[in-house]
């Protein structure tokens, strides 16, 4: 086994690998350029061990391709949650976990000294005082143990919030946890509640389910904390040479695209005085800085700019207008009109003639608008607007596609 372990100490490296295996099902062993091939073999074995049947092997001229292959619309549990269940630990960590809970089981309130004595007496194991003190401190932070001071002495007792009792006492809560455990915004936490209660989601499935997002949940709490405290953050990229060049940014919001599958942190870059979106899957860690004194002013400007944000793009202040005319059979294609209404964002939709509709969109990035407009291929009569380059590309794309599919041929 040569030093291989299923468990990992740091989530960062594994995050990067899982993403590659999951997203790029076409990479072969030699494409992985990080560290040695031995590292690749270890990561691959770990991924095989965690994800079992979801790992798929395809042969190609360049070698074997390993991927994590999931139809995420039909699964009850995000398989990538397994990665969160693989944290390495010391022998003392696991011993003290069970010993401390056991010593405090009957509701006793004990001092550190008493806990040490009980541990020694009950389990015949001697621990360093500092080791137990640190573990108690950690478990107080995690909410397992409650501490209170009487005079100068700290007393410890076990939290009375038991997972099973909580789920049992509030009717419907189990079903709610089953549902939310598979949604965005830290579904992994809900899954950990189900795991503790030995339950599984057997009721819900998710559409447009980007299971890979869970890997980013590891960095989001720090971003949220910085937003709440109105602090600067620095983003450390996975690619050493492409480290964030903007220095500290002021974080505004997490953006999630349900179309492209990408999530971003949108922040204000003081050095160039604009808002920018940064891919969360490219960010390894976050470093929190000082308080931003102008946070509220910046956030107000951000809220105004949001009105012109189509997708995730922000520009340096220039708002572009794009006007698209659609030809839609009102009698038989009402569903297309409904689709335009629900997806148009801030766009203004007007009926200009029988079966003709004009949509006017004011946005920071016309390319983002045009990407969406192309999903109405077959119904677009004309496109005009400020960004000539984006419009030119649209017309050119349609010509290319026409030729690609044998335009004019029957």
């Amino acid at each position: 086994m040569g030093g291989f372990s299923e468990l990992i100490k740091n989530f960062d490296k594994t995050r990067d690998y899982i993403r590659d295996f999951f997203i790029y099902g076409f990479k072969v062993r030699n494409d992985f350029d990080r560290k040695s091939l031995r590292t690749y073999d270890d990561e691959k074995r770990r991924i095989e061990s965690w994800f079992g049947d979801y790992v798929k092997y395809d042969r190609s001229e360049r070698g074997q391709k390993v991927s994590i292959n999931v139809d995420s619309g039909s699964i009850s549990e995000n398989p990538l949650y397994q990665a969160y269940r693989s944290k390495s630990f010391t022998d003392n960590d696991i011993k003290l976990h069970f010993f401390i809970i056991d010593v405090l089981y009957n509701g006793e309130t004990l001092t550190l000294k008493e806990i040490i004595e009980e541990t020694d007496k009950n389990y015949n194991q001697i621990f360093d005082v500092q080791t137990i003190r640190n573990k108690l401190k950690e478990y107080v932070q995690e909410g397992i143990v409650i501490t209170e001071k009487k005079g100068k002495t700290a007393y410890f007792r076990l939290s009375t919030d038991r997972v099973n009792e909580c789920l049992h006492n509030y009717e419907g809560l189990t079903d709610a946890v089953k549902f939310f455990s598979e949604t965005q915004e830290f579904g992994i936490v809900g899954n950990s509640i189900l795991e503790s209660a030995r339950l599984k989601n057997d009721l819900f499935v998710m559409k447009h389910n980007y299971i890979v997002h869970t890997l980013e949940d590891i960095i989001i709490p720090e971003i949220i904390s910085a937003i709440e405290q109105k602090k600067y953050i620095s983003l450390i990229s996975f690619k050493v040479n492409k480290a964030n060049n903007f220095g500290y940014i002021v974080p505004m919001k997490i953006f999630s695209s349900l179309q492209t599958g990408r999530r971003y942190i949108v922040g204000y870059i003081p050095t160039i005085n604009c808002f920018h979106s940064f891919r969360l899957d490219f960010i390894r860690t976050i470093k929190t800085g000082n308080i931003c004194e102008k946070y509220d002013i910046i956030y107000e400007k951000f809220s105004q700019d949001l009105n012109y944000c189509f997708g995730v793009s922000f520009s340096s202040g220039k708002i572009e207008t794009t006007v698209i005319t659609f030809c839609i059979d009102e009698k038989h294609e009402k569903f297309v009109i409904d689709r335009l209404k629900r997806e148009k964002g801030n766009g203004v939709l007007e009926k200009t003639d029988d079966n003709l509709f004009r949509l006017t969109v004011k946005a920071c990035d016309s390319f983002a608008v045009m990407q969406w407009v192309k999903s109405f291929t077959g119904r677009i009569v004309s496109v005009t607007g400020d960004n000539k380059q984006a419009i030119k590309r649209f017309y050119s794309d349609i010509n290319k596609m026409y030729n690609m599919y044998g335009g004019g041929e029957k």
Partner: protein, 330 residues
């Protein structure tokens, strides 16, 4: 406070399960590792749980004089609701969808229980950039009532009599076996996956938008056949996958694999010219959605097969080409 903590780990869970056993044997330990562990856990865990002569185990079990394994702890391990879990629950109480699950008085009571807990996040921290603006009305009483009836029936697989409006506005009534409830964050809607019944026999694998349901009635009936959700998904799967060729321009490969991550796929070839050929399996009733998503990539994706799917793409593109040229001439 971190969700990537060993107390949520597979190894801790396995240890907890072993310590709860009334009779601990090596065979039981292996069975629990097989059931809850990772694929290779059986290579690493038994020797940490079972006492070793050199003391390299975790010391959670000991051998009695008769050789039997017993737990060193006095009580069965308990699972505590941790701070991060409480904070997460508190955040969910602000989600409008929570009212589909909890009655008002339960919600009030749970809020009171968590009153001193700081939410893990606020909904204000997130923005879904392309969520549709006509999602379900989760606060509607009829919607909540229907949702709960359906949820109960999904658990028991009780046959329901449902009256609803189709996408075309046609009123439909029938008997259905509920299987799963699907949620789409993009649509912000719930839908029911079910089998429809005709003369008591499974007739069709269907999907009903819960927001379009007028009435749900219990029947107290159950289908005699053992119903499989896998069978449902198999029935809805396309007969032939769509094959596409992706060029390497405009970062298309990366964009494609990100956007189509939820689909089951197989990469066929990746030649040196940077082009990549991929097969995509999909729900045949959502063929149009797949088609328009592929077309939105423009010329960096070419649909190769099946011929009928390619023909549909060609039809839309030809129509588009003609529309633009006709307008130019005018």
């Amino acid at each position: 406070m971190n969700i990537f903590h060993e107390m949520y780990s597979t190894y801790f869970r396995i240890s907890s399960e072993v310590l709860k056993l009334p009779n601990i044997t090596e065979k039981n330990i292996h069975q629990i590792i097989d059931k809850y562990g990772f694929r290779d856990s059986v290579l690493f865990l038994p020797q940490k749980l079972i006492p070793q002569n050199d003391g390299s185990d975790w010391g959670l079990l000991k051998r009695n004089s008769d050789g039997k394994l017993v737990s060193v702890i006095k009580n069965k391990p308990v699972e505590i609701l941790t701070e991060i879990q409480k904070r997460w629950l508190k955040s969910k109480l602000d989600d409008p969808k929570i009212k589909l699950f909890l009655e008002n008085d339960t919600l009030v009571s749970l809020k009171k229980h968590l009153e001193n807990v700081k939410p893990f996040y606020s909904r204000e921290h997130f923005r879904y950039t392309d969520q549709f603006n006509d999602g379900d009305n989760f606060s509607d009483e009829l919607y909540q009532k229907n949702f709960r009836k359906i949820l109960m029936a999904v658990k028991s697989q009780e046959i329901l009599e449902i009256t609803f409006f189709s996408g075309n506005g046609k009123k439909i009534s029938g008997k259905y076996i509920p299987l799963k409830i699907q949620y789409s964050a993009k649509n912000d809607r719930f839908r029911l996956f079910c089998f429809s019944l005709k003369d008591g026999e499974i007739f069709h694998s269907g999907v009903i938008n819960i927001g379009r349901i007028e009435q749900v009635c219990n029947t107290s009936e159950h289908h005699e056949k053992n119903i499989s959700t896998n069978e449902y998904f198999q029935k809805r799967k396309c007969r032939e996958p769509v094959t596409v060729c992706i060029s390497d321009e405009r970062n298309a490969t990366e964009r494609f694999f990100m956007e189509f991550a939820p689909y089951e796929k197989s990469t066929l070839s990746d030649s040196d010219n940077g082009k990549c050929v991929v097969k995509i399996w999909y729900d045949y009733q959502e063929e149009t959605e797949l088609l328009i998503r592929l077309l939105s990539f423009g010329p960096v994706i070419e649909i190769l097969s099946p011929p009928e799917f390619r023909r549909q793409a060609k039809k839309r593109i030809t129509r588009q080409y003609d529309l633009l040229n006709k307008n130019r001439r005018q």
